[in-house]
């Protein structure tokens, strides 16, 4: 694999507001997903697999868990002398809290300018996918575009209406109209929050936009200048889940109970890297009953479990019956507990004999560190 000649810039706090329960103490990027990952793992691993070796992460708030997760970037092979992972806390250059992508990028302008890569990939973390960033860059270069936006065709849902950038394109793929939080129903072309452009184009745009008080890249720069800026769409048709609210988060996890989906999102030859926790294998005891579950390491399962996504280090006691749940890291379910349609955040304890029940459309959520 060669250097892709592209750098990555990740925005962990974009879309924090769509799942306030899960982002109360963390960024969108560090929301746990699929048993052993955080949302940012898919972005970083995808970039690294494509040959990106220089990634900046611009954090805004609540980023302790993200810093802890990323460390030096070693697990993504991004602990490097040249390039590698750089985390930019707010107020690095000036003493204000930034607004919009432009504001965030303005704060790290010197870093972007001193980088050597020809292209820049800007990426949010709310779409879980197996995007081929190398192909995206290739298409961007071949089309002669100033900016290429990766998008997927999606059926509009109420949750997506509040949080989308949609594209209307000419047959050539050139974007003719770019709409923010468009409410039209039916199948729409929604941006994945992944944009590619030349590094110099980006730095020039930041300078000129910032001096004119413009901070929103898509809304204030791209949407209003589609005649002069050549914006192209790149359709991604692979497996993905858009996290737009708690229900879609739950569903995105549950989809991974289907092995076909698990293999499409996490193909054997395209590993998704994450922080290593050095957990032992899962221990299934005598008398446990487990059907249709996706389970990460370090768990001890003694009870009955069906249709669950089980994160690292979860324990489920004897006689407990747990169905249709997403149990995050270190959830401890005592013997005899019954749970149906529950999402537990990290370090939750459910004490003996409790019953917790939600429904398919509305899950009970137990917040981080609490004891029921």
């Amino acid at each position: 694999m060669v250097n892709l000649n592209a750098m990555g810039i990740v925005f962990p706090n974009m879309h924090d507001s769509v799942i306030p329960d899960l982002t109360a103490h963390r960024t969108m990027a560090s929301v746990p997903f699929a048993g052993r990952y955080r949302l940012i793992d898919f972005v970083l691993s995808g970039m690294v697999l494509a040959g990106v070796q220089n990634v900046g992460v611009i954090v805004k708030k609540n980023y302790q868990s993200l810093m802890d997760h990323l460390g030096s970037g070693r697990e993504w092979d991004l602990a490097r002398k040249r390039g590698g992972l750089k985390i930019f806390p707010p107020s690095g250059y000036s003493s204000y809290e930034y607004h919009g992508r432009i504001g965030a990028l303005k704060g790290i302008l010197a870093y972007i300018e001193s980088s050597k890569e020809k292209y820049v990939i800007l990426a949010d973390c709310d779409v879980v996918c197996d995007l081929d960033y190398a192909e995206l860059i290739e298409r961007h270069a071949a089309s002669g575009a100033d900016v290429t936006i990766a998008y997927t065709k999606e059926k509009m849902t109420p949750a997506l209406m509040n949080n989308n950038v949609s594209l209307a394109m000419a047959p050539s793929g050139r974007v003719r109209e770019l709409m923010i939080n468009d409410e039209q129903t039916g199948r729409r072309n929604l941006s994945m929050g992944v944009l590619v452009m030349g590094r110099e184009f980006l730095t020039e745009t930041i300078r000129s936009a910032y001096s004119r008080g413009l901070v929103k890249f898509e809304q204030e720069i791209l949407a209003k200048n589609l005649d002069t800026i050549k914006v192209y769409g790149y359709e991604y048709t692979g497996y993905r889940s858009r996290i737009a609210d708690m229900a879609s988060y739950f569903d995105a996890n549950m989809q991974l109970l289907y092995r076909e989906n698990l293999n499409r999102l996490l193909p054997e030859d395209r590993p998704i890297y994450t922080k290593v926790r050095d957990e032992a294998p899962v221990r299934y005891t005598v008398g446990c009953k487990v059907k249709n579950c996706t389970v990460a390491d370090g768990c001890i399962i003694e009870g009955e479990v069906e249709n669950c996504i089980i994160f690292r280090g979860v324990t489920i006691g004897k006689g407990a019956v747990v169905k249709n749940c997403v149990l995050m890291q270190n959830t401890a379910v005592a013997p005899g507990v019954r749970m149906d349609y529950v999402i537990t955040d990290k370090d939750v304890t459910i004490t003996e004999g409790q019953y917790l029940g939600g429904t398919r459309s509305f899950q009970v959520f137990v917040k981080k560190g609490s004891t029921v």
Binding site: L262, D278, R283, T285, I300
Partner: protein
């Protein structure tokens, strides 16, 4: 300067593991779902606060070298110290293979001297146990010993398989016998020694002068120190310890992880066993799966039955397949309807549809012919083929129509 560094003897061929050690040294043999044998002594070192480890390799070192790498998974990538793989090397005076355990250390005197340690811990890479070497070092210091040997009480019937120590009331070793026919004691050496480095250095040099010496710790160094009235003390260890040098003992030690009454706990957060692991997705058990009393790790896909067994990473068990009382190493594929009983499948074995490997003791007419079946790395067992109990397979087995 380091107070204590560890030297880990990992050159053993492990010839009694036959098909499992064709391409790798015994310490690199996979164990317990996501470990290799060497992870236990290495993790013990780190958990005991020892940050400098020399690993002496000789036989088939490729897998082990790559596995250890820079030592990062064990937190042994250090600026000063850390882990070093030490194969025999050429010197101005010529070059030699490691002739014995003591000679392996002798050939690396310069390595040890470069850290100027007070004490050297000698370990072997073929035992499964958890032990706090810091406590043993404290013991060595308070007893003002020249050499401390960790010992374990073994059943009297087994004494002929071990190096046996006789001690006085103070725990000072008075006699050492390698595999005695009639033992005086049932304290067995665990192959774990702490030496005061200056003393050991002198005896290694003296041993090297003796052309008739086997250059072995048990056979030569320890007896020589006893003869010259050095202070050797026994450090009594209580807890789980197993030599996994044979197919049966390797199978048993793995199965011990599934027995809640055996004090070998890899889930204990306070004494983690570290390993280098590939990035794999969580494992998936389908609605067809039936899993009980098993250890399963990341990357596995199970549609069949798994009972009293250990599946390493990336093992696939097809619908209607049955895996019982078995150890299935990374990357194995067990197709639909295959049956695995009392077997060890090495890495990347494929068992085609309907094939049968091993047998259950209750199904044997002659129990003498029963034993654990072993299928070597990369072997394909054809559809419907049968591999009997106690078999040792290192080549593909053809389809049976």
């Amino acid at each position: 300067m380091k107070e204590c560094i560890a030297m880990l003897l990992a050159g053993g061929q492990g010839s009694r593991l036959y098909a499992l050690t064709q391409k790798l040294a015994k310490p690199a043999v996979p164990f317990g779902g996501k470990y290799r044998i060497i992870d236990f002594p290495l993790s013990n070192c780190v958990n005991s606060g020892i940050d400098t480890v020399g690993i002496l390799t000789q036989y088939q070192p490729l897998v082990l070298n790559e596995y250890i790498g820079n030592g990062q998974p064990w937190d042994l990538d250090r600026l000063h110290g850390g882990v070093h793989v030490l194969p025999p090397y050429q010197k101005a005076s010529g070059s030699d293979w490691y002739k014995g355990t003591a000679n392996a250390i002798y050939q690396n005197i310069n390595f040890i001297d470069s850290y100027d340690p007070e004490y050297v811990l000698i370990l072997s890479g073929d035992h499964i146990y958890k032990m706090d070497y810091a406590k043993m070092l404290d013991f060595h210091k308070t007893r003002q010993a020249d050499c401390t040997i960790a010992v374990l009480e073994v059943p009297w019937a087994d004494t002929s398989r071990f190096g046996i120590m006789t001690t006085d009331a103070d725990g000072v070793i008075t006699r050492f016998e390698e595999k005695p026919k009639k033992a005086e004691s049932n304290l067995a050496s665990m192959g774990i020694y702490i030496f005061s480095w200056k003393k050991l250095r002198a005896y290694l040099e003296q041993d090297e002068e003796d052309k008739k010496s086997a250059n072995d710790f048990g056979k030569n160094i320890i007896p020589a120190m006893l003869d010259s009235a050095q202070r050797l003390v026994a450090y009594p260890f209580e807890g789980y310890w197993k030599d996994v040098g044979t197919i049966d003992s390797l199978w048993e030690a793995n199965m011990d992880l599934l027995d809640p009454s055996v004090p070998l706990d890899v889930w204990d957060e306070s004494w983690k066993i570290y390993a280098r692991t590939p990035a794999q997705p969580p494992h998936h058990l389908s609605s067809l799966a039936h899993v009980e009393n098993a250890m399963i790790t990341e990357g596995c896909e199970v549609d069949g039955e798994v009972d009293f067994s250990i599946l390493f990473s990336n093992v696939h068990v097809g619908a209607g397949a049955v895996v019982r009382d078995s150890i299935v190493m990374p990357g194995c594929v067990i197709e639909d309807g295959a049956q695995i009983n009392y077997a060890i499948l090495a890495e990347n074995v494929t068992v085609k549809k309907g094939a049968i490997i091993g047998s259950r003791p209750e199904h044997m007419e002659d129990i003498e012919k029963w034993g654990v079946a072993v299928v070597g790395e990369g072997v394909t067992v054809g559809p419907g083929a049968k591999v009997g109990p106690k078999a040792m397979i290192s080549q593909d087995v053809k389809e049976v129509l």
